[in-house]
C-alpha cells in the first residue's frame, strides 16, 4: 500500500498545486541543518549496518557456550565480557540489533497497514462505520499499552513473534486516529470535493489524493513508533513474555543477567545501553523528520 502511495500518480496540474507535501530536496535541506536529526540518522544507519553484518563481524556466534569462561569481565578477547554461559556479550548485543530492528520495523509496518485501513474506512465513510471504529480505538487506547500487550501475549503464548504481533495491535489505534483525522480534513479540501463531483471513484480518490497526502505524518509517527515498539519488545522480553532463550534479545538478556548485577555488572550494562541508543536514534530521527516534513506538527 505504501508503495502505491509513493509512486506519484499522474494528476491534474491544477490539483497538484494545492498539495502541501514538501519536495524531497526541501526536506533534505531542512533535515541536514538539524544536527540532532543527523546524529539520529547516523545511529539508525549504524544499527542497520550492524544488523546486516553481525554474522561477519561478531567475534563469536550467539550461542557458543563455554561454561569455563563464565562471567568474564570485559577484556581484549571479549570487549563486553561474557555472560553466565560464557557467551561473548558483544556478539550477542550485535545480533540483538537484528532482532530489535526486525521487531520494530515489522510491528510498525503491521500497525501502519491495519491502522491506515481502519482509519480510512472510518474517516472516509463516516457515520456508523466511523462510530464503531472510533469506539474500538477508544477502547484499545483506554488500556495501558504494555498491559494490553501482556494480555495478548498471554493468549498467544510467549515468543518473539507473538510479542511482535501484540505490539503491532497495540499501536494500531495511533495510526488509525492519525489517518482518520487526516482523511476528515482532506475530505473537505476543494480538490477532493472537486474530484468527487466529477465522479471519480472512491478508491481512486483514496489512493491518488488522500494517501499521498497522509504520507508525511505516517513517516514521522512511524519512525517514532519504531522507538516505542523496540522499547515495548524489550520490556516484554524482560518480563519473560517476549523473546525466549537463547535468542539474544536485549530485554531478555537484561532479565537473564540481572541476578549478576553485583558480581558482573557488564552483563546488565551493555544490553541496556544498546536499547537506549537504539531508541534514542529513532527518536532523534523521528523528531528531525517531523521538523523537516511537517513543521506544523511541532508543539
Amino acid at each position: 500500500m505504501l508503495e502505491t502511495a509513493t509512486n506519484k500518480p499522474p494528476v491534474d496540474p491544477q490539483i497538484e498545486e494545492e498539495k502541501s507535501t514538501p519536495l524531497f530536496s526541501e526536506v533534505w535541506k531542512s533535515f541536514r541543518k538539524n544536527k540532532l536529526a543527523l546524529i539520529g540518522a547516523l545511529i539508525v544507519i549504524f544499527l542497520i549496518l550492524l544488523a546486516f553484518t553481525a554474522s561477519f563481524f561478531a567475534p563469536e556466534g550467539i550461542n557458543e557456550q563455554k561454561l569455563s569462561m563464565r562471567l568474564q569481565p570485559p577484556s581484549a578477547d571479549h570487549w563486553f565480557g561474557t555472560d553466565d554461559f560464557g557467551r561473548d556479550i558483544l556478539s550477542r548485543v550485535m545480533y540483538g540489533a537484528r532482532i530489535s530492528l526486525r521487531v520494530g520495523f515489522i510491528a510498525v509496518m503491521g500497525s501502519i497497514i491495519i491502522g491506515t485501513l481502519l482509519g480510512i474506512l472510518a474517516g472516509y465513510y463516516g457515520k456508523v462505520v466511523d462510530m464503531i471504529i472510533s469506539r474500538i480505538f477508544d477502547i484499545l487506547l483506554a488500556f495501558p499499552s504494555i498491559l494490553l500487550a501482556i494480555a495478548i501475549v498471554a493468549i498467544l503464548g510467549p515468543s518473539l513473534r507473538n510479542a511482535l504481533i501484540a505490539i503491532a495491535i497495540v499501536n494500531v489505534p495511533n495510526f488509525g486516529r492519525l489517518i482518520r483525522s487526516k482523511v476528515l480534513s482532506l475530505k473537505e479540501e476543494e480538490y477532493v470535493v472537486a474530484a468527487k463531483s466529477i465522479g471519480m471513484k472512491d478508491s481512486r480518490i483514496l489512493f491518488h489524493h488522500i494517501l499521498p497526502n497522509s504520507l508525511a505524518p505516517i513517516i514521522v509517527q512511524g519512525t517514532l513508533s519504531i522507538a516505542t515498539a523496540i522499547l515495548e519488545a524489550a520490556a516484554l522480553g524482560f518480563l519473560g513474555m517476549g523473546a525466549q532463550a537463547p535468542e539474544p534479545e536485549w530485554g531478555r538478556m537484561l532479565s537473564d543477567s540481572r541476578e549478576y548485577i553485583q558480581d558482573a555488572p557488564w552483563t546488565v550494562i551493555f544490553p541496556g545501553v544498546a536499547i537506549m541508543l537504539t531508541v534514542l536514534g529513532f527518536n532523534l530521527l523521528g523528531d528531525g523528520l517531523r521538523d523537516a516534513l511537517d513543521p506544523r506538527m511541532k508543539h
Partner: protein
C-alpha cells in the same frame, strides 16, 4: 461547557462497556486452566472437574459474562479464584500503592521538568541548556526497567543509602488507614515512618518519572522560547524589570497546557511502566497484582483489575480533556 462535559461522560459508557466485553473475552481466550493451576501437579481429574463446577467455569461464556456484569453493576468485583477473597477488598491497597507511586513520580517529573525547561530556554545555548537537553533526550529513550536496575544496584546494593524493595519497613509496618502511606503515617503522627516511606519511594518514583520529566522539560523549553519572543516580554525587558521572575511567572502559565497534555498521555505509560518498576522494586502495586493474576489464570482478578486500571486511565484523560476546555478557550467542543 457543561454539556461538553456531560457528553464526554456519556461517551464513556459504551467505552467502559466495550472494555468489559473485551477484557472478558480476552481472558477466556488465554489458554490455561485456573483449576489446574490451583490444584497443581497433585490434582486428580475428578478434583479439577468439581472445582470447575464450583467456580462456574463449566457454564457457557455469555452466561458467565452476564452474571459478571450483573455483579459489577452492584459494585461486586467478584472473588479471587486463588485466594477466595473479595476483589473489592483486595484491590484497594494495590491500587493505592500504585497511585501513590505514580503521583510522586508525576510531581518529580513536573517539578524538575518545568524548571529545567524554563532555565534551558532562559539560558538558551548555554552549557546548562545543552546538558539539560542531552539528559532529556536520553531520558526520553530510557528503558525504565534498566534504569531501575541500575539505581537499585548503585544506591541500595552498593551504597546502602536507600531500601531496595517494598513500601515500608517490614518489621515496623505502617498501619494502613487509607493505604496511601504518606498520608497514613502523617495521620498517625508517625514522622519516623513517614521518612521511611519517603525513602522507599525515591528510587522507584525517580525511575518512573524519567520519561515524563524529559518530555515535560522539552515541551516547556520550546513553549518558553516562544514566550521569550513575545512582545510582552520584550516590553518588560525594555523596561528593565527583574526579568527572571517575569519570565518564570508568565511561562508557568503557558506551560500549563503542554503539561496537561503530558499528564494525559503519560498516565497510561506510568500505569504500564509501573508493572516493570513494581517488579524490580517489589512494589505491591496494581500492575503486579494483575500481572500475577495472569500467571495464575485468576480470571476474576484479571478482569476486574484491568477494568479498574483502564477506568482510572479513562477518568484521568476525561479530567484532562475537560481542564483543557476550561483553560484553553481556543479548543472548540463539538
Amino acid at each position: 461547557m457543561l454539556s461538553y462535559a456531560t457528553r464526554r461522560v456519556l461517551m464513556l459508557i459504551p467505552v467502559l462497556f466495550g472494555m468489559s466485553l473485551i477484557v472478558f473475552s480476552i481472558i477466556r481466550l488465554i489458554p490455561g486452566d485456573p483449576a489446574q493451576t490451583i490444584l497443581g501437579t497433585k490434582a486428580t481429574q475428578e478434583a479439577i472437574q468439581s472445582l470447575h463446577h464450583a467456580l462456574g467455569l463449566d457454564k457457557p461464556w455469555f452466561v458467565q459474562y452476564v452474571s459478571y456484569l450483573k455483579d459489577l453493576l452492584t459494585g461486586d468485583f467478584g472473588t479471587s479464584i486463588r485466594t477466595n477473597a473479595p476483589i473489592s477488598q483486595e484491590i484497594w491497597p494495590h491500587l493505592a500503592a500504585t497511585m501513590e507511586l505514580s503521583f510522586v513520580a508525576m510531581i518529580i517529573a513536573i517539578f524538575f521538568g518545568i524548571n529545567a525547561g524554563i532555565i534551558s530556554a532562559w539560558k538558551q545555548n548555554s552549557i546548562f541548556d545543552f546538558t539539560a537537553m542531552v539528559i532529556a533526550l536520553i531520558g526520553v529513550s530510557m528503558p525504565v526497567f534498566w534504569l531501575g536496575l541500575l539505581e537499585q544496584w548503585g544506591f541500595s546494593l552498593e551504597l546502602h543509602w536507600l531500601p531496595s524493595i517494598g513500601r515500608d519497613n517490614i518489621r515496623n509496618a505502617v498501619n494502613p488507614i487509607t493505604h496511601f502511606f504518606l498520608i497514613d503515617t502523617l495521620l498517625q503522627g508517625r514522622f519516623d515512618q513517614f521518612w521511611v516511606v519517603i525513602k522507599h519511594l525515591i528510587l522507584p518514583s525517580v525511575a518512573l518519572a524519567t520519561i515524563p520529566m524529559a518530555i515535560i522539560a522539552r515541551m516547556t523549553r520550546s513553549s518558553m522560547l516562544e514566550v521569550m519572543r513575545s512582545d510582552y516580554i520584550r516590553t518588560a525587558r525594555a523596561k528593565g524589570q527583574r526579568m527572571f521572575w517575569i519570565v518564570y511567572k508568565h511561562s508557568l502559565k503557558n506551560a500549563f497546557i503542554p503539561i496537561l497534555t503530558v499528564i494525559g498521555l503519560q498516565t497510561g505509560l506510568l500505569l504500564g511502566g509501573a508493572i516493570l518498576t513494581e517488579t524490580i522494586f517489589g512494589w505491591p502495586g496494581i500492575g503486579r497484582y494483575v500481572y500475577n493474576a495472569i500467571q495464575y489464570r485468576d480470571y476474576p482478578v484479571i478482569q476486574s483489575g484491568i477494568l479498574v486500571i483502564a477506568f482510572f486511565f479513562v477518568m484521568i484523560n476525561l479530567i484532562v480533556d475537560i481542564l483543557y476546555a476550561v483553560f484553553d478557550p481556543r479548543i472548540k467542543y463539538r
